[in-house]
Amino acid sequence: MRAGIQQGLKAILGGFDVERVRRDFPILSRPVRGKPLVYLDSAATTQKPRQVVEAMARYFDQENANVHRGVHFLSERATGAYEGARERVRKFLNAREASEIVFVRGTTEALNLVAFSFGRQRVAAGDEVLVTGMEHHSNIVPWQMLCAEKGAKLVVAPVDDRGVLVLDELERRIGPRTRVVAVAHVSNALGTVNPVKQIVERAHARGVPVVVDGAQGAPHVPADVQDLGCDFYAFSGHKIYGPTGIGVLYGKAEHLEAMPPWQGGGDMILSVTFEKTTYNRIPHKFEAGTPNMAGAVGLGAALDWLEALPREAAWAHEDELLAYGTEALSTVRGLRLVGTAPEKAAVLSFIFEDIHPHDIGTVLDREGIAIRTGHHCAQPLMQRFGIAATARASLGLYNTREEIDALVAGLEKVRRMFA
């Protein structure tokens, strides 16, 4: 709790004003089922600040045309907006070159791209792909599909009872046949922050590249790809205050250059004859077809919005809320937090008495409280903890202590109903 207070002070002294942040999100002031909305489902998708919606509307109202091909005024403007968003993402991730930023639909598509372009080239029969026990299905299934195709083996690094990745066990599993390590930056189901930099160091020491699922990482912890040293980093726009349908794959230029295209079509070519096609340069080689231009503009606006906040203070606000929420939920009789790693971000996953999370979710919903219930697309992790599902409250920059209090009060109502 002391850490919580310190973080709270840091947030306030650092100039983070949650009420001002909330004013950017019109949806937060709408009632739900006659109650004030308490939105605790940002790990599923964040709400969008009006700056994002306005930027997208402005794009459609003033700049829309197809990119990279027209010689006319609007096409030039649209291309500028789209490529400007790419540069914005480069800056956010601190990538060396904008050409290392590939726009995709979301993290899932990014990870599939890596598995089926980079992975397919690299992994052969008898090889191994190493993942962790806390991965989201989207960082398991593509690798599983690749392994099935190639006759390779999916190897899993274990997670301890607190939800911490056992780093030495991961390292022990990096063998002579390991071709890729794929790991979540932050677990969506538990909130565990993985030591990606250390994982990268240990994997690189054995010549193995590292793919990072940053869907929950990019919104909540520093995601500096040069500092992390990772080979690939994927994240989704809609989990970082941007729109759905746009996401990012960062890849080191040397990898992207060497990788075959993933999808064929327009925009990814330099020239086509029926005999031979010459592919475009990176990143365009990986962006077949008309891209999600308005989505990219919206993502750029989301990153502008995010980075205009005092970053250290904003992170401190989330940490303080997490500490406050951890403390508050710990006082609820019969509640057990699932995921108690010392390094955590933005997620409070729990089980409560023997009440099924789905029933908890329905009762809380009637109080205007939105949480996620289920296996969070991490069934192997649920099996690890011997449970089918959890209830998950997840935090965003707009959440408040009062909303945590509302959750605790809602849980008492759940207890009265089912006890």
């Binding site: 099924h356 999370p357 789905h358 329905t362 296996h375 089918a388 109903m417 089912f418």
Partner: protein, 153 residues
């Protein structure tokens, strides 16, 4: 909590809470001649349904597994309701039940549903309809002799 939420109270009626806590026919049926598995991947409800047929009559029926209060109560009520009925009667009951949870109590003759009427509140909760109907779909598969897993997705 001064105000009552009547829709919520309708959903979690005493009968539902009771059957959710102490489900009837909640056991393995060792001499079952039909069985099927039902899975709701969204929330992790997972049941195995056992059936013993005597000609076209459901002589015994039971289930095992885990799930939310609604799915468990529905399994408990379903097994209680179809035990002793013919396959045709059970299927007829399913179509009435389906109408009840999707269209609401006004769309059916509640008296024909017996205890199943306790699930009438589900229609106000679209996301919970699949919880209530999972075990019924599982029953249908068991009757049709299909061994694959039923899912509500």
């Amino acid at each position: 909590m001064a105000t009552r939420d009547s829709q919520l109270d309708d959903l979690y009626q005493e009968v539902i809470l009771d059957h959710g806590r102490r489900p009837r026919n909640f056991r393995r049926l060792d001499d079952a001649d039909r069985q099927a598995e039902g899975l709701n991947p969204l929330c992790g409800d997972h049941f195995r349904l056992y059936m013993k047929l005597d000609g076209d009559r459901i002589q015994d029926i039971a289930f095992e597994g885990s799930g939310c209060a609604i799915s468990k109560a529905s399994a408990s009520l379903m097994t209680s309701s179809v035990k002793g009925k013919t396959i045709a009667e059970a299927e007829e009951l399913f179509s009435r039940f389906h109408k009840l949870v999707t269209e609401g109590p006004d769309a059916v003759q509640l008296s024909e549903l017996g205890k199943l009427a306790a699930l009438s509140g589900v229609c106000e909760f679209p996301t919970r309809v699949k919880c209530a109907s999972l075990v019924w779909h599982t029953m249908k598969n068991a009757l049709e002799g299909e061994r694959q897993v039923v899912t509500t997705e």
